[in-house]
C-alpha cells in the first residue's frame, strides 16, 4: 500500500516537472536548455514575428485565390456541365471536397495563428518552458496547415484531370474524334 502511494506521488511529481510536451514526442528540457531559452528567446520572438507576418500574407493570398477558383471557375463549370447534360458528378464531388478542405485550412491557420500570437506576447524570460511548449505546438499546427495546403493542391490536380477526361469524352461524342 505504502509502495503504491509512493509510486503515485512519484508519477505526479514527474507529471508536473518542467517537461515540454509535443504532440507525440516528449522533450525533456535540462536546466541548461532552459537557460539557453531565456538567453535566446527574445531574438527567436523577433524571427517568429517575421514568420507570423509572412504567413498572414500567404493565408490572405491563398484564401483569396481558393475563393476565386471555387466560385468563379469550379462552380460555373459544374453548372455548365449539368446544363449540357454531361456527367459531372466526380467534378462536383471534388468541388465539395475542395471547399471543405479550404475551410479546414482556414481553421488550422486560425489555431496556428492564435498559438503563434500567444508565443509572441509571452514573457519568455519568465516562462521559458511555457514558451518552448507553445513553440512546439505552433510547429505542429503549422505542419497541419501545410498538410491542408497539400491536400488542396491534390484536389486541384484531381479536378484538372477530371475536367480533361470530361472534355475528351464530350468532344469524342460530338465530333467522333479524340481531341
Amino acid at each position: 500500500m505504502t509502495k503504491a502511494i509512493v509510486a503515485t506521488i512519484l508519477l505526479m511529481l514527474i507529471a508536473v516537472s518542467p517537461l515540454a510536451h509535443a504532440e507525440d514526442v516528449q522533450v525533456v528540457l535540462t536546466d541548461q536548455d532552459i537557460a539557453l531559452i531565456r538567453t535566446n528567446c527574445v531574438g527567436v520572438q523577433s524571427s517568429m514575428q517575421r514568420v507570423h507576418s509572412s504567413d498572414a500574407l500567404a493565408r490572405y493570398n491563398l484564401a483569396q485565390q481558393y475563393n476565386i477558383i471555387s466560385t468563379k471557375l469550379m462552380a460555373p463549370m459544374n453548372s455548365r456541365v449539368s446544363l449540357n447534360k454531361l456527367n459531372g458528378v466526380a467534378m462536383t464531388q471534388t468541388t465539395v471536397d475542395f471547399d471543405e478542405t479550404v475551410s479546414e485550412f482556414k481553421l488550422m491557420y486560425q489555431q496556428y495563428e492564435e498559438t503563434t500570437s500567444r508565443a509572441l506576447k509571452m514573457n519568455c524570460k519568465d516562462q521559458p518552458v511555457s514558451f518552448y511548449d507553445t513553440l512546439v505546438m505552433a510547429r505542429s499546427q503549422k505542419a497541419a496547415v501545410r498538410d491542408a495546403i497539400n491536400r488542396i493542391n491534390i484536389l486541384l490536380q484531381q479536378y484538372d484531370t477530371q475536367f480533361d477526361q470530361l472534355r475528351a469524352q464530350a468532344l469524342q461524342k460530338t465530333t467522333g474524334v479524340t481531341p
Partner: protein
C-alpha cells in the same frame, strides 16, 4: 397623477432620475453591443486578417485584393472554345497557388530559430 401620495412620491423620484437612467441604460447597451462585436471579431478569425493592426505594418502594402476579372459563364454550350477558355483560366489561377511554397515548416524549425544553441561559444576570441 395618482391619488396615492406614496405612489406619487415614488413616480416623482423616478422621473427626477430618468435622464441619468437613460444615459446609464444607453451606456450599458453600447457596452453589450461592443463586447458582442469584439467577440465576433476575435472568434471569427477576422482579427487575424486585419492588416490595419500594427503587427502587420510591414506587409500591409503587399496585401492587395485580386481584382483580375475571372469570367467563366455558368450557362451556355460546352464546345471546344469553352473548354479551352476554362482550361486556360484554370491553369493560370491554380498556378498561383500550387507552385507557392508557403507555410514552410523549416521557418519554425530548431535549425532555423536556434533556440537551444549557445551563441556565446560562437564568438571568436579576439586576437592577442
Amino acid at each position: 397623477m395618482s391619488d396615492d401620495p406614496k405612489l406619487a412620491a415614488e413616480l416623482s423620484r423616478w422621473s427626477q432620475h430618468r435622464f441619468v437612467m437613460l444615459i446609464v441604460g444607453v451606456i450599458c447597451i453600447a457596452l453589450f453591443l461592443v463586447s458582442a462585436a469584439l467577440s465576433l471579431y476575435n472568434n471569427s478569425g477576422a482579427s487575424q486578417l486585419d492588416f490595419s493592426s500594427p503587427t502587420y505594418q510591414d506587409i500591409r502594402k503587399q496585401a492587395r485584393r485580386d481584382t483580375t476579372q475571372v469570367d467563366f459563364s455558368a450557362t451556355g454550350t460546352l464546345d471546344k472554345a469553352a473548354y479551352d477558355q476554362f482550361k486556360k483560366m484554370y491553369t493560370e489561377r491554380t498556378g498561383k497557388v500550387v507552385n507557392v511554397n508557403s507555410f514552410d515548416e523549416k521557418a519554425l524549425s530548431e535549425e532555423s530559430l536556434q533556440l537551444l544553441v549557445d551563441h556565446s561559444t560562437d564568438q571568436s576570441v579576439p586576437a592577442q
